[in-house]
Amino acid sequence: MTGSGRAPIVEARAIHKHFGHLHVLKGVDLAVAEKELVFLIGPSGSGKSTLLRCLNRLEDPSSGSVVVDGIDMLDPRTDINKARQRIGMVFQSFNLYPHMTALGNVALALRKVQGMGRAEAEAKARAALDRVHLADRADHYPLQLSGGQQQRVAIARAIALEPRVMLFDEPTSALDPELVGGVLAVMRELREDGMTMVVVSHEMGFAKAAADRVVFMSDGAIIEEGIPSEIFTNPSHERTRAFISQIERH
């Protein structure tokens, strides 16, 4: 099911994931249309981050299928490193390389994965930093940047590769409240530029304003999904209602 009837660019079917005896994903289906912004919400341990990580195979699903931009991600013949260039990912803890400048962080994959020369890669990296409004911080090391700036560099690192889809795993959870706005603003601009995005986050205000669809997960399964106004104001499922009222109190 997609929000608009457009052909899905991400299609995960019947995803199961076991960690030892733990059954964290119990047959999840998720389809995301091109240019759609899908929010994944749910209590901690509901499997939403694991689902996200199955989409670019940072986790190998125990069973099921994942197709992104026409590429079967779980086929052993698929060149996973090539496929991953089409799927940008942003992490809760930024994960910038501390021994490289902002520019170096963004340019690394351009040079080593896409094989660009130094000058070309740096020009492209600067353009990506400019898109997250950090062109003037290109020569700073991660430790010299605020958390919000680090996360924006991490976004630049991902979008520099011109991905077809962006995955965000709690991108603002590690940030001080006053730094959240800058990251969300960049995400909103990406959305306006037509980027397909799957976001695990509890930023309800952002979800209401920008998401096409909200998916509520609990205990490794999708409980319900719908447009934000529907899920936030009139959820049909009791568990969704309990969760929404809980996060709105904070």
Partner: protein
């Protein structure tokens, strides 16, 4: 007192023994320049292999590292030098030293680098892999540079030990510094050449010792 000075610090003896000592110093320098990079290379190979979780790699690797750390380097060296010819491999003195240090020193550098690699957060690897970097590229450009930085004091400390350990090359008749000093001593019946060798070692290693202690202070400060 005169006898003491005469026995340990005689200028005359030094000037007579100098050509022999100089030869030895050159050999020790060459040995160090050969052996340290070999050990580091061996260490990088072992540390990289240690990230593989496959039991067919993991357990042989464990056995390898344990063996070459437990085996006294002197015994290992004699074994290679005197033993390999029996299976038709005569590698010579330099070859034996190169192989022996690669095995022994590599195992030590490997364990240090392994600790360094394990100190790099998993998120670093995930971020790199998510941009399409291969396992090897991630290791070379993201993990190893941080790993080396995190264990630099231990790497330098080990390097000091390795340079001093090059003196065991004398058992396969390589004329390194200490070997030459003992030759000079036995010819002159005087301990001055040994003292001169000690001074040479000190001059050689002191900058590294200083660097090490500066790094250690900085790390202590950083931990606070």
């Amino acid at each position: 007192m005169d006898l003491f000075l005469e026995t340990f610090f005689s200028w005359q003896i030094i000037s007579e023994a100098w050509p022999i000592l100089w030869q030895g110093l050159q050999a020790t320098l060459m040995l160090s320049v050969l052996v340290v990079p070999l050990g580091v290379a061996g260490g990088i190979i072992l540390a990289t292999l240690s990230t593989v979780r496959n039991p067919w790699v993991k357990w042989p690797l464990r056995a390898w590292v344990d063996t070459f750390r437990a085996l006294p380097p002197l015994v290992l060296l004699v074994f290679i030098f005197a033993g390999l010819p029996f299976i038709g491999l005569d590698v010579g003195a330099w070859g034996a030293v190169a192989i022996g240090f690669f095995l022994n020193t590599g195992a030590y550098y490997g364990e240090i680098l392994r600790a360094g690699i394990e100190s790099v957060p998993r998120g670093q690897i995930e971020a790199a892999r998510s941009t399409g970097l291969t396992r090897g590229q991630t290791m070379a450009h993201v993990v190893l540079p941080q790993a080396v930085r995190n264990v630099l004091p231990d790497l330098i400390s080990n390097t000091l030990e390795v340079v001093k350990l090059t003196s065991i090359a004398s058992v396969v008749a390589l004329p390194e510094l200490l070997f030459q000093a003992r030759q000079a001593q036995s010819v002159t019946y005087n301990a001055t050449p040994i003292m001169a060798a000690a001074v040479a070692y000190f001059i050689l290693l002191w900058p590294l010792v200083r660097l090490l202690s500066r790094l250690e202070n900085r790390q202590l400060a950083g931990r606070r």
